[in-house]
Symmetry: C2
Subunit: 141 residues, 2 copies
DNA sequence: GGTCTTTTTGCCATTTTATTGCATTTTTAC
DNA sequence: GTAAAAATGCAATAAAATGGCAAAAAGACC
């Protein structure tokens, strides 16, 4: 498991420890599925304490992403989705074309194809497009 | 190689053959890299003939995607990106975190991880996040 | 704890990307 | 050529994200 001391992780990254950053990081770390900024806001709104402004959420996520505590996923939806960076095993992302939901799946790390010269790879992401159980049941067949 | 008879492919998909659909499909098929709707519009604007409205481009892409002639990629950028569906060899997508550009790379098809029951996979996409040669040179090191 | 400096936040306005409604035009079948 | 169905253009609207700036909070120092 990862160190759940979010304030320390933020301080170690060289930033100020603010309520918004801690709340956003905790929210993303506590969630199974990657969330959009608005989904983070919704969840924080249901928690005790003051709710940060939407713009603050965006900026907190931006800062967390720039400092490697959170990462943005490749998605087909309109809104960006983020997940906390944990050192759990590698995983892929399933994305439902029906409801747009994204969820993590355990998966071995895929092989890295050769890149053009001068290019550097920093991360490899496997995205499985398809239909989730609920959406499949909902489609007329 | 693929059949370049775009009107026929559109008719075979069960739709009307319109100038906008043919132009959008041809544009995407003629381009190395996946394009955003606005990039498609830019390119069509530089071509001879009447330029379709932006909304028409959106709707043409939507129709083409719904009928399997075009597909939307998983991206981290703000705008959606599309590529023509060709039966060329499988490929991955490289996405530069500097300039946001997306390009195709030849790559073997990645293994499909097991899915939760009830889920169906329709496509697997491999996304390599990193820096392109130009952006890497631009970053201070 | 009090004071100072720097960073972050909240609010408002704005931009970018995408979607909807509806009258007009185009496509296709006959 | 004509009629029915579908697609388009235009204007308005929605959704997601960003920028500017004054007020507030965090951290460093005493």
């Amino acid at each position: 498991m990862n160190d759940p001391d979010f304030p320390r992780r933020i301080r170690d990254a060289g930033g100020r420890v603010t309520a918004a950053r801690v709340a956003v990081l905790r929210c993303l770390a506590a969630t199974e599925e990657p969330l959009t900024p608005d989904e983070v806001l919704e969840r924080l709104a249901q928690t005790a304490g003051p709710v940060p402004d939407r713009v603050t959420i965006y900026r907190a996520i931006e800062w967390l992403a720039a400092h490697g505590l959170v990462r943005q996923l490749a998605t087909v939806g309109r809104a960006a989705r983020y997940e906390a960076v944990e050192d759990r095993e590698t995983h892929a992302h399933f994305q439902c074309r029906g409801c747009g939901q994204t969820r993590c799946l355990p998966a071995p790390p895929p092989p890295l194809p050769p890149l053009p010269i001068g290019y550097v790879a920093e991360r490899v992401e496997l995205v499985i497009h398809g239909l989730c159980a609920a959406c499949r049941a909902g489609e007329r067949r």
